[in-house]
């Protein structure tokens, strides 16, 4: 059964989603404010939940295809684990795993600043990507109904 699109819900969702995503980016990036990767990722996933609630699951899947979603859910973890491996490789085996201060960037700028930058732009973003993709994927899997399968993608 197809529901008729509701003008109020669609307009308000269209208005809210960009702001929710902007707020999620504000929460996830940076070390000085409140929040972090987990919270930012969940807020970002909430924007997809709102999109699906307003526009239906097939349209939601066309915005975030299943292949992209699956790839993203491991990409964030690769960011986090990869920066740890990079710390060992780029310091030629001197430093420990996840020792951001040993990256060659610390020779150019301050060591403390390097650690802060790595946390805010790689680690937190990696966590946020994984959390966003996993929560969206769980939501889509739970919300999918078999009868919507035929009218689905493409």
């Amino acid at each position: 059964m197809k529901k008729k699109p509701d003008v109020i819900i669609n307009t308000i969702a269209r208005l809210m989603i960009p702001f929710i995503q902007m707020y999620a980016l504000y929460v996830m990036v940076g070390t000085e404010g409140a929040g972090g990767g987990f919270q930012g990722g969940v807020v970002f996933a909430a924007s997809f939940v709102l999109f699906v609630t307003a526009f239906g699951i097939t349209k939601g899947r066309s915005r975030l295809p299943e292949s992209w979603n699956t790839a993203l859910s491991s990409l964030g973890l690769y960011f986090y684990a990869g920066i740890g491996i990079l710390c060992i490789i780029l310091s030629l085996g001197v430093a420990n795993y996840l020792n951001y201060g040993a990256l060659p960037l610390a020779e150019l700028i301050d060591r403390a600043m390097t650690r802060g930058l790595m946390i805010s732009f790689v680690v937190e973003v990696g966590i946020a990507i994984t959390v966003m993709a996993v929560f969206t994927s769980i939501f889509f899997d739970l919300a999918w109904k078999p009868e919507e399968d035929k009218g689905g993608e493409q």
């Binding site: 973890l77 986090y80 403390a112």
Partner: protein
């Protein structure tokens, strides 16, 4: 009353009593000198004799104290340094970190009356006092989450990823990725 109900009731009452005891026993919230926040008393003490005091003032932990500390399982590493600080002596030890070679605070020997008590600093002290200098952020939570306890957060992220994979395996039945 059935025996199982009575035993469950007893367990609930015992648990409640335990919680009340714990709430009474923990240090006041925000007390900067409580064990969780600053240091723990190791219950090691010696009398203040003149040679102990001269030893400490010369920058050496006296043998009588060092032996007691070693018996407790916290041996003093090589290259430590003793610095006098209000009401006692700070024992600084090298931690062997390549990028941060400076000595770190480890023990505090406190003078109380005619006894000397050994305190050990708890872990969050470095985290609290040095996080702005070492990581360049005033936000202690982020510094702890992603840097001092980075392995922990990596594990948490893996847990969330595993949850996603489990839901995909259980509920996705469309044979198409």
């Amino acid at each position: 009353m059935k025996p199982i109900t009575a035993s469950a009731m007893l367990l609930v009452i015992l648990l409640g009593a335990l919680f009340i005891y714990v709430v009474e026993d923990i240090p006041a919230f925000g007390d900067p000198n409580s064990p969780a926040n600053k240091w723990i008393n190791l219950s090691i003490s010696v009398d203040t004799t003149p040679d102990v005091l001269t030893g400490l003032n010369d920058g050496v932990v006296p043998d009588i104290l060092a032996e007691k500390i070693t018996d407790r399982g916290f041996p003093l590493p090589r290259g430590y340094k003793v610095v006098e600080e209000g009401g006692g002596w700070n024992v600084l030890i090298p931690t062997g970190e390549r990028l941060y070679p400076e000595l770190q605070e480890y023990y505090f020997i406190k003078r109380e009356g005619d006894r000397l008590w050994v305190y050990r600093y708890s872990v969050p002290l470095r985290w609290e006092t040095k996080c702005e200098e070492e990581i360049g952020t005033p936000n202690m939570v982020t510094a702890g989450l992603a840097d001092y306890r980075g392995y922990d957060t990596l594990g948490e992220t893996t847990v969330i990823f595993t949850a996603g994979v489990a839901v995909i395996l259980l509920l996705r039945r469309r044979g198409k990725l």
